[in-house]
């Protein structure tokens, strides 16, 4: 099988999975493309890849990436190409699959081998259901999100924890018998790129770390004015939480930066507590909160769909609930 991700940490996780299932999936190869590819590829030598193909000349567009990976898949006669489901990876995978005549799962959240078969799971129906699927074609393309291919403790002891922090393993740690992998150039000319990347603009970042936050307070359209935001910020502070929001508040009204936006086009974090205020619960949003361990919802409308997803619900006015909760949390932390 062949592994590629623009994020080396994710490639490492996929390679560990590939290495643990070498019996089913065959020899493991990797590809490293783009800026600094040669330097980055050094680490891959110790990451389960028998051979790593390196090129700095592959344009990072979906089409060029798909043709480079398809060329390698043909050259190596591999049956499975595993990609990291970054946004770029998710868009590249189906083009690659179409070239290879392969079935494709483009955002697997779980990857497992059961009875000698590769089984994927992905969210569907707006994030409401988890679809367990098997690809029927001889060739397969899968793009997996971070954590989807995380190995169980029985697979390779120690491998997962190291994958999580992205620390390169030494070849000696688990596979003392295996020599370090080879680095090779692409065995063909890089594909012609009809689309070209002309510029990159970093997104503005205010330093919020929603993905790593234990508690989130998410505010929705129930907030009537931007001037009322301090009410919610104070609650978040008293709760030791980061502030998050639905799409209308960031994208449409511009009250909060998009890095705080949860949902299908925003973040999908997994906090221990999600306190949702004035959020109705449209599916495009709820996809972003499904991963929360505990969900609390406050909304004026008893019929709001958010309550179906909530562990605890309060039908009430956030303008009354938020300040009272803030005051009580402050008392608690003093006492």
């Amino acid at each position: 099988m062949l592994v590629w991700s623009e994020r080396d940490i994710l490639a490492h996780e996929l390679l560990l999975f590939a290495g643990a299932h070498r019996g089913l999936l065959g020899p493991t190869y990797a590809a490293v493309f783009g800026e600094q590819a040669t330097a980055r590829a050094e680490a891959y030598r110790s990451w389960e890849a028998a051979r790593t193909y390196v090129s700095e000349a592959v344009e990072p567009t979906d089409e060029a990436l798909a043709h480079a990976l398809a060329g390698l898949a043909e050259h190596l006669q591999v049956k499975l190409v595993l990609l990291g489901a970054t946004r770029r990876g998710r868009a590249t995978a189906p083009r690659l699959a179409q070239i290879l005549g392969a079935g494709c799962v483009s955002e697997a959240v779980e990857l497992a081998v059961e009875d000698g078969q590769l089984i994927t799971s992905r969210f569907t129906l707006g994030g409401n259901t988890l679809s367990r699927e098997r690809i029927l074609t001889a060739r397969k393309v899968i793009a997996a999100v971070p954590g989807a291919a995380a190995l169980g403790p029985e697979d390779t002891p120690g491998g997962v924890a190291e994958a999580a922090v992205g620390a390169p393993r030494t070849a000696a740690s688990n596979h003392a018998e295996r020599a370090a992998g080879e680095l090779l150039p692409l065995p063909f000319q890089p594909p012609v790129a009809r689309a070209r990347v002309v510029r990159r603009e970093p997104k503005p970042r205010a330093g919020a770390d929603l993905a790593g936050s234990e508690r989130l307070v998410c505010i929705g359209r129930g907030l009537e004015r931007a001037e009322d935001l301090p009410l919610i910020q104070e609650l978040a502070e008293a709760l030791g939480a980061e502030l998050a929001c639905t799409r209308p508040l960031s994208y449409e009204y511009g009250w909060l930066p998009e890095e705080r936006m949860l949902g299908i086009s925003g973040l999908r974090p997994s906090p221990r507590l999600m306190l949702s205020l004035g959020v109705s619960g449209q599916v495009q949003h709820t996809v972003g909160i499904m991963g929360s361990k505990l969900i609390v919802a406050v909304n004026r409308e008893a019929s709001a769909p958010i309550f179906k997803l909530a562990d605890y619900g309060i039908v009430g006015d956030l303008y009354q609930v938020a300040p009272r909760l803030t005051a009580r949390l402050r008392e608690r932390s003093k006492g």
């Binding site: 979906d62 367990r132 699927e133």
Partner: protein
Amino acid sequence: MRIVVCLKQVYDLAQLRYKSDGRTPLLEGLPLQLGSFEKNALEQAVQFKEAASREPGSEVEVVALSAGSAKLQESIKEALAMGADRAVLVVDPALGGADAAGTARVLAAAIQKLGGADLILLGEGSDDEYTGQIPSRLAALLDLPQITIVRSLELEGGLIRAARDLEHELEIVECERPAVVSVTSELNTPRLPPLSAILKAGRKPMDTWNLHDLGLSADSVGGPAAQIEVLSNLAPAQARKNVMLEGEVDRQVEALLAALEREGVLP
């Protein structure tokens, strides 16, 4: 210049119900509507058309294209009301079993029958399935460049310039027309068509083709050609507690605080 906007009719998931097991989705009878990302794509096409109409000698035709069941008629009228010039529907019972690869083949064949397009616009995924495979597969089938996950889009002569909305950056990509472009909901705010446009929509041309018209067999794109077997599709087993905290607001807040304490989620 011709812009083809590929549209999908999606389930209204706000009304999704489950069987008595609480996990098996009940899709039968669930209302269908025009997908939200599709409206962003269509809005962009209509804006290009309006911009072209202000420049002498340039003209844009917007074709709304969709494949599925006869129920498409209703959703496609909304597309025509939003400003598409004409609609092409591929309606065939076999399409019920089509997966992303099958649907992409049908759309590609329909675009070829139309005589091609200068720009093909789609949503980056659908509200219900969200496989997000159609734009990339369609571009491969038509051998066109693709720019995906686009949140702003410009046409400059024969050049397409788009900003891709990646995790930490916007990536500005250019290519020549024709190309396939998939868009995000951040691209624009789709218009709500006025009543007059809704009334006029019914008089716009609408062609309905079947698989035979496209030279495709049911077996080559429908269920028998599916590349994916769905083993199960269920709501996650871990159900939410759904405890409603009753009473006056002070009592509700006290009950919540106690619950949060009990769950061990407070700092």
